[in-house]
């Protein structure tokens, strides 16, 4: 089994962080993983995406050009990457920020008002982890390792963020 994941959005939405969490989650579940960011001069506001591959075998190319799982956290990303997804792909869409539906009929789209849910929960920056929680629910990826993986990616200097991230994952998971 090889899952090719592409997470896309604006810089500052935690696209890379969500990818890093999923990669660690895969690693701790005994899988082979890779994580590759689009890197560029933009820090906040520009487009950002990252490729994550979780596989039972050694990862070949770390670049995801045809995702099995596509996360879109803004409209330009959905416009750009919808057609790249494989047939049968799962597409996760932040429906607070993206008004349109997926055009493809051969994919399964999940509409999650992640930015609104995150704001309601008092953690407006954690829409990324709400979507991540939904991904874990819909795919069954490494659900035993969530807490362990989160500890790896949340800075030890900010332990209070651990609970907030875990809370956001739970919101998404329980949708």
């Amino acid at each position: 089994m090889t899952e090719q994941i592409l997470i896309t959005g604006f810089g500052g939405q935690g696209v890379l962080f969500a990818g890093k969490f999923l990669a660690y989650n895969g690693l701790l579940s005994g899988k082979q993983v890779s994580w590759l960011p689009s890197y560029g001069p933009e820090m906040r506001g520009g487009t950002a995406n990252c490729s994550v591959i979780i596989s039972d075998e050694a990862v070949g190319s770390p670049i995801v050009s045809a995702p099995d799982i596509l996360v879109c956290m803004n409209l330009p990303s959905l416009d750009k990457f919808e057609n790249a997804a494989v047939k049968g792909a799962k597409i996760f869409i932040d429906s607070t920020l993206i008004e349109r539906k997926a055009k493809r009929e051969d994919v399964t789209a999940f509409y999650i008002p992640a930015t609104r849910l995150a704001t309601d929960a008092g953690t407006p920056a954690l829409a990324n982890m709400i979507i991540t929680g939904k991904i874990l629910k819909e795919t069954g990826f490494g659900t035993d390792c969530i807490e362990q993986a989160l500890k790896k990616v949340v800075s030890a200097k900010h332990p209070e963020l651990y609970e907030k991230n875990l809370g956001a994952i739970k919101i998404g998971y329980n949708l």
Partner: protein, 352 residues
């Protein structure tokens, strides 16, 4: 080896260098290599090492020259335009027979180019780069694990042969994270009786120099250095072969291009095409022998590169132009897709 952690390739280089006993790092920031310097700036002060952001790349490489002469493990890192600036110093280090590690996390060129991954410094790395008769040992990692392992190997080879070694990576290798088992810290055991460490009034002066005004003497040093290079070609060539035993189409690729190509070779096999991959791990010395051997069965070769076609010349030379060699490439920071490589394999199969 330690437990696996997720790490960027650039960070893995830095941590592996420290494990290999490197305590002196001189550099100047440039994308997509900056994490090496950033990591060193955090770690070196904590372990009694030197991190120094020089005023320029030229200055940094000359600091490397000085510390190498004093017999310590030392490195610098940069990306393509910065590596061009270092070339004079690299030639001096080669001319003075000093061990040092130079890391190039390549980006697109020429000129300032772009910041996306590239392999277009292949000629510069393997054919000289600076002036004069010399080679660098050039290692090409294709995973974050190899970024770490080849860094340690680079220091060992540099000391063993008293010569500068280049780790030739690219932006993808530098920026991607993969699980890595970091090497255990090791004691540096190489004796360096040639180092300038002070005579303490008991021995004759050691002289580190690359200036020989007497042409006969300069020729002699060059001839001796090339005898060493010959030995290195015979003993240190490294490569990986993948499904080459019966391969009719052999793909040759290194670094990120090899990762992409491996997917394509697998896909070709699924379609019943006998494809294989030879991945040079040392770019100099280039793995000529396995290529020549593969040419006995292969009908065609494909050089997959993130450049306008540079390694392809070494592929043609290695197989003595006995088979057609096709180029499958992207340039300027673009990366070939597995589908592009697969269609190149199908085309090569169809034409031969």
């Amino acid at each position: 080896m330690t437990d696996k952690v997720l790490m960027k390739g650039n960070e893995a280089i830095a941590e592996a260098a420290i494990a290999a006993g490197c305590r002196h790092y001189f550099g100047y920031p440039i994308t997509p290599q900056t994490e090496v310097a950033a990591y060193m700036s955090k770690r070196m002060p904590k372990i009694g090492g030197t991190f120094l952001q020089a005023e320029s790349e030229i200055s940094a490489i000359n600091m490397v020259y000085g510390v190498a002469g004093a017999g310590f493990r030392v490195m610098t890192s940069s990306s393509s335009p910065g590596i061009s600036l270092k070339q004079e110093g690299i030639s001096y280090i080669a001319g003075a027979d000093l061990p040092a590690l130079i890391v190039n996390v390549q980006r697109g060129g020429p000129g300032l180019g772009g910041i996306q991954p590239s392999q277009s410094d292949y000629f510069q790395a393997t054919k000289g780069g600076g002036h004069g008769d010399y080679h660098l040992l050039v290692l090409a990692p294709a995973s974050v694990q190899e970024m770490a392992d080849l860094t340690v190997k680079a220091f060992d080879l540099a000391d063993k042969y008293r010569m500068p070694v280049m780790l030739l990576a690219d932006g993808t290798m530098g920026q991607m994270m993969e699980p890595v088992s970091l090497p255990e810290p090791s004691e540096v055991k190489t004796e360096k009786p040639w180092a300038v460490t002070g005579t303490k009034g008991v021995r004759k002066h050691n002289i580190i120099n690359s200036l020989y005004l007497n042409p006969e003497q300069l020729e002699k040093t060059n001839v001796e250095r090339f005898e060493k290079y010959k030995l290195i070609e015979e003993t240190e060539t490294a490569y990986e072969e993948f499904m080459t035993d019966d391969a009719e189409v052999v793909v040759v690729a290194f670094g990120i291009a090899a990762r992409v190509s491996k997917n394509a070779v697998r896909a070709a096999r699924e379609k019943g095409i006998k494809a294989g991959l030879i991945r040079p791990i040392t770019l100099w010395p280039f793995p000529k022998k396995p290529l020549l051997k593969a040419a006995e069965k292969a009908k065609a070769f494909i050089s997959v590169e993130l450049s306008m076609g540079q390694m392809i010349e070494d592929v043609e030379l290695a197989i003595k132009c006995s088979r057609p060699v096709y180029l499958c490439n992207r340039s300027g920071g673009m990366i070939p897709t597995p589908e592009q490589v697969l269609s190149a394999i199908e085309k090569a199969k169809g034409e031969n």
